[in-house]
């Protein structure tokens, strides 16, 4: 993975939904509401360009507001994990 930081404008791309790092309190609330353990959430790599822009750490939970063709807006959560991309 190259050390160069991704450019800020990728966040404005049509395909990139809004990402937000949850605070610890929010994260606990979300996990309790969904009734899951953190590792049961979908994951997102620490090397993901959007995660790098957000400066999230492994273990953080990211809230994603997806534009859904069926539901208007759908909120999803991903757990930041530290692993190298298999590329």
């Amino acid at each position: 993975m190259s050390g160069k930081a991704p450019e800020k404008w990728i966040l404005e791309h049509r395909l990139v939904p809004e990402h937000r790092v949850l605070s610890l309190e929010e994260a606990i609330q979300v996990l309790r509401r969904l009734g899951v353990k953190p590792w049961q959430l979908p994951q997102i790599s620490i090397n993901d360009p959007v995660v790098r822009l957000l400066n999230a750490k492994p273990g953080d939970i990211i809230e994603i507001r997806r534009k859904s063709p069926t539901g208007g807006v759908a909120i999803a959560y991903r757990l930041v994990v530290a692993f190298e991309r298999r590329s």
Binding site: P6, W9, I10, E12, H13, R14, L15, V16, P17, H19, P42, Q43, I44, S45, D48, P49, V50, V51, I64, R66, S68, P69, T70, G71, G72, V73, A74, R78, V81, F83, R85, R86, S87
Partner: protein, 410 residues
């Protein structure tokens, strides 16, 4: 009484907002606003009915959504075209469509067999064909080979004669001077224009490159020839061709306004987005891996959904988008794009039997035996192989009669 229901309606709507998907809720509120002849009580009943309808149409707990999605995509897939089609357009591009493309997407191939980009233009370049053409020229990967008509040399005199093609120079907007500076910067030798014909360039190679003793060494000349041909003039790597399309035609103030876009053969999202004149918010590629790398896993998820729906739609198949969404969700589950198959989703199942049921059965058993894997028979595939009720639907719940009667006191 009426006020009573107004209060209740407000509370129910607040509840509905947290429960219903945004699009349904917005439509509901809008329709309620229009229906002025309904009493608050009737409105209350309508909202109640909408919520009931929504809940009853949700996927039931224990519903095998994956199996349903696989069947819903798989069955229409049997009717799909197996051939690669030519795309009928101004410039003809080869585009993989139908089943081969669908397989490419779910197999998460690193490179699509026909990489393609849809490049949208920014405000300044969008409405003018000339400016669009400028951007297209900036994109197209141009080497010396693309603008020349011949390159001649004879052994023993260290001279290459390069003849440029005037039509190609015009098309790619390259001047002979540009070609001269490119060749000279590469350090191959000094270049001079033929005084009689400005399109003929004489390249004199230095003694260092071709020393005296190998003056007649054919291999050195051959290497130099291909080196000159491959010299980079301008453009973005991997973009082989760029052609302009009319995206939209509209009439503004009695004037025809055309919006242009560029379709390219070959794909390089990271570099194309940096080119001046390109709209960074809309430009996409059909290479899912490039999207994942440049824009992140969530963008890749959206791209997978769009690509699958596009293929299905072009083949004239009506498959609910929710199935494609589930496929995309699974493929991007652990933060990288995985294929649906032996090397991806199916190969990472914890159960030996489930993996063996998919592909390369014997190899799976051998490896499982070497590692000493256990089979807990908890998944659907394993249960069916073993002949026990799978944990799906009503098989999910187990009911037993408790023989201990607890006395309730008080």
């Amino acid at each position: 009484m009426a006020r009573d229901y107004e209060e209740k309606l407000k509370r129910l709507l607040a509840e509905a907002e947290s429960m219903l998907p945004k699009s349904i809720f917005n439509e509901l509120v809008e329709e309620l606003g229009k229906a002025s002849d309904l009493t608050p009580e009737e409105k209350y009943r309508v909202v109640e009915e909408v919520i009931r309808g929504y809940i009853s149409s949700m996927a039931q707990p224990g519903e095998p959504v994956g199996t349903v999605a696989a069947q819903s995509i798989g069955e229409p897939g049997t009717q799909m075209t197996l051939r690669t089609f030519h795309f009928a357009g101004l410039m003809e591009f080869d585009v993989t469509l139908g089943l081969p493309r669908l397989i490419e997407i779910v197999d998460a191939k690193r490179e699509p067999s026909t990489p393609l980009m849809e490049v949208y233009l920014d405000e300044a370049h969008r409405y003018d064909e000339k400016k669009a053409k400028e951007v297209a020229r900036r994109l197209e990967y141009t080497t010396v080979e693309k603008v020349m008509s011949s390159l001649e040399y004879s052994l023993g005199d260290r001279v290459f004669r390069l003849r440029l093609d005037p039509e190609m120079l015009e098309d790619k907007a390259v001047t002979p001077e540009k070609v001269i500076s490119v060749i000279e910067e590469s350090g191959i030798g000094s270049v001079s224009q033929d005084p009689e014909d400005p399109l003929v360039l004489k390249i004199e190679v230095s003694e260092k490159t071709i020393p005296e003793e190998s003056l007649f060494d054919y291999k050195i000349y051959k290497d130099l020839e291909s080196k000159i041909k491959k010299l980079y003039i301008k453009g973005v790597k991997n973009i082989n061709r760029a052609s302009i399309r009319v995206l939209e035609e509209s009439v503004v103030e009695d004037k025809k306004v055309r919006e242009y876009m560029i379709v390219t053969e070959g794909s390089n999202l990271a570099e194309v987005l940096k080119v001046e004149g390109v709209d960074r918010t809309r430009t996409t590629t059909n290479n899912i891996f490039e999207i994942a790398e440049v824009l992140g896993i969530e963008a890749a998820r959206t791209a997978i959904i769009e690509e699958i729906s596009k293929v299905l739609k072009e083949s004239g198949l009506d498959v609910d988008i929710r199935h494609s969404m589930l496929v995309a969700d699974i493929m991007t589950w652990n933060g990288v794009v995985r294929q649906i198959g032996r090397l991806g989703v199916s190969g990472e199942k914890p159960s030996v039997l489930a993996r063996a049921a998919f592909e390369v059965t014997v190899k799976q058993f051998y490896e499982a035996a070497i590692r000493g894997e256990e089979e807990s028979l908890r998944g659907v595939t394993e249960a069916i192989i073993a002949g026990i009720p799978p944990k799906v639907g009503t098989g999910l719940v187990v009911m037993t009669i408790s023989p201990i009667h607890r006395r309730v006191e008080g």
